[in-house]
Amino acid sequence: MSLKRSKNGRSITSPWIAEGKKYELPISDAVLDMQGRDRTTAKQIGWQIAFIAGLLGLLYYSAVVSEIDLFELLEGGSTMGEYISRYFPPDFTDSASYLDDIIETIGMGIWGTLLAVIFAAPLAIFASANLCPVWIVQPTRRLLDAMRAINEIVFALVFVVAVGLGPFAGVMAIFVHTTGILGKLFSEAIENIEVGPIEGVRATGASKFQEILFGVIPQVIPLWISYTLYRFESNVRSATVLGIVGAGGIGVSLYQSFRSFDYTKVCAILIILIISVGLIDAGSAWLRKRFI
């Protein structure tokens, strides 16, 4: 047994640690009794196995219905290579108009998100079980569910009929869908706050509305900003697709180039998209840091 010694001669490593030993802890009857109460039974293990088997079955079934086929992917590999080569070199001749489209797309994202935040904030308060009674919470949550359940594209089809072709239909589609998402995320943030500060505000004689403004909002604001910026990024991506159904944005040019087999133009649009989404990503990360 060798002990390391520090400069002043005292041992700095105990013999137990040096030899990798652990000291004994007394095992009382109470400990043994507690051990006897361990309820992990064969029945529990059986349930766990059944659960895993069920999960595997579900995965297999969903692979079958979605026609996942490795062989097809491998066979298609050679033709894929040839097909992808048709995308190059990218054709930037129309890039001025693509830039306009991108700006329009981002504008759709900004307004869709902004309107959604304005409506999601009050809805989130009504959907929070720690602030509102159940008869307000449940209907509000179902409303948010409905908004979330329907994809932007479907809403876009509806709004194209209602307000006509163009980016405004896209803004409305993004707005409604995002309200559903942000409303849910915002209310989850509210349900996780501390009650102490709210009581502190309440104890001064403040009204319910003031309790929310001073006790709730300051606690959730960092998360709310984070969620909003994240949704803004996603909404710009969604806005690029909405053009396919005529709801404005870069999607219109993208879809037209696809249909006329101008793959080099498609490639140019995709490159511009990747760059702008990357820029937005960096920008919102910077914003988030400033706010939190």
Binding site: G200, A203, T204, G205, Q210
Partner: protein, 293 residues
Amino acid sequence: MIEYSGNLQRVVTAVVSVEQKRQASHRLAHQPAVTITHLSKAFKGIPALQKVSLTVQTGEMVALVGASGSGKSTLLRTINGLQLAEKGEVKIFDTSLQNNGQLYSKSRHLRSQVGFIFQQFNLVNRLSVLENVLIGHLSQISSFRSTFRLFTKAEKTRALAALDRVGILTQAYKRAALLSGGQQQRVAIARCLMQGAQIVLADEPIASLDPESARRVMELLVDLNQERGLTVITSLHQVQMVRFYCDRSVALREGVVQFDGRTAELDDNRLSRIYGAAAEELVQRGHAEIFSS
């Protein structure tokens, strides 16, 4: 009484002179600040308060004594209506706040006369110290002004004066979360001053503090009690603290008042008669050591 305080708040711009306050406390003297009659409350069938009756005169400093779970917190929280009792009545300056489980319509206005200090401070961490103090004034301002956090210069000056009184003026523009526990508790006291509270209820105000901070917070409460005639009701679980700072104490056990009188009469014998072996917890725990020397 309420009308008078309302006027007071209007008259007050920055700091109310001590003289004015003395007059105020003179007018309030010899009138019960808090009157509790036959208050009962249970949580899931377990009684927390059982027919508690208690009168606290204006300007008194009263300690609620008892081990954890004896009903101190519940009693304090029912006094300002944060909690509803099932039976009994609470009156603040002769105006009913709650009666048999019903909160009176003016309860919010009454509550604004009563400051509350929590064990965990309950400040809004992400707001500045100053904003936390300004929260004490919310009951006096419109929803519109609160939405945009529009406080007048006079209000801000008063909040700063309150911070000055509790000795942390220099921290005014920091975030509340950055302050130490003792400082946060003093912000909470400044919030009560901002309210213009005549009564301060303190629920274990020093249980989360180190001995030195605890001493400063208790001394601040005593000072305010003496110079402003503020009525202070505080729960404390260390008897040493009670003996040091409070003339009158009320001992609770399982929600029943076991003793109500001068602290001097609440000696160790009496404590062990009330609490049995549990009395040790009250005498020996916490910051007691700095007072026993």
